[in-house]
């Protein structure tokens, strides 16, 4: 997927990739990447866990605006489902108002 990110970036699109396999991202150095220590195949969160998926997606999209340099790899801090994702979203909504 790092290859696809690099090609699309060359084609003029801003890309961000969410990875559960940090070492692959370190090898491929895609333009912007967010790493989560989630199970393989559940890259954005558990099935049905809308709040969890949403928090990870928002962090990834945030990188489109605030990544500092090509190859920026952010380690997201979330511990699978031991996190109150609803609370994180509520805080973010409040700060957007």
């Amino acid at each position: 997927m790092g290859v696809v990110a690099r090609i699309l970036e060359e084609e003029g699109f801003s890309t961000v990739i969410v990875v559960t396999f940090r070492q692959a991202a370190e090898a491929m150095r895609p333009p912007r990447a967010a790493y989560v220590r989630f199970p393989i195949g559940l890259t954005l969160g558990a099935p049905g866990a809308a709040a969890q998926q949403r928090v990870v997606i928002e962090d990834a999209l945030g990188l489109l605006e605030n990544a500092r340099e090509p190859g920026d790899l952010r380690i997201l801090p979330y511990q699978w489902q031991q996190v109150d994702y609803e609370k994180i979203l509520a805080t973010r909504r409040a700060s957007r108002r």
């Binding site: 003029g12 801003s14 990739i17 090898a27 491929m28 099935p47 997606i57």
Partner: protein, 215 residues
Amino acid sequence: MPGDLKSLLEQINDDGRARTPLSRLNFLRNVASDEDLARFFSELLIQTAEAKHTNEWAGLETFLEEWEDWTLARVAADGTFPEVKATPWTPLRKTVDQARIALITSGGLYLEGQEPFELSNDPTYREIPRGTRQEHIRVAHHGYDIAGPLEDMNCLLPLARLEELEAEGVVGSLAPTNYGFNGSIPEMRNLERWPHEVADKLRQEQVDAVLLTPA
């Protein structure tokens, strides 16, 4: 016999009960030597007993995470990643709340009625329009447990989440067309052609940025 530990891991994998919790350790059976496995299992037993004895479980969590990292580092070292040059860079020329976002997943997602992906080296992609309903999603991939996206595509192809973000004005819009392919592609030339074709389609739909989700 240390040689039996590998088949023990195979049995645990076939059993399937802890497939999701074990997913990050699952490649241990491919990359660990008999000595590594003996070290892992003996240390696991000691750490587990220690944790129960002291009711301090953080050490066990750290132990498992270290072995996950060890395993995936070995997988990466064995993997044939292509040589990469300088990383390309296209700054987003607008804010995310003005941008049109497209989704691409390598998790092998496609639509009912489309040709399924080959399980390895498939150089093709499928178009998945926004508004696609869960019951029309199919998945062909051998590298992970496909039960996740079969139950909820949003773990890999978050059409519903992006529609919510669009409705709330957090993103400008979700693209009309999004894309799935099967990322199990050992031969790089099979991966290098279609992204250019997809780029043309993304341009036609005035996409600014792409969120990529590998399985």
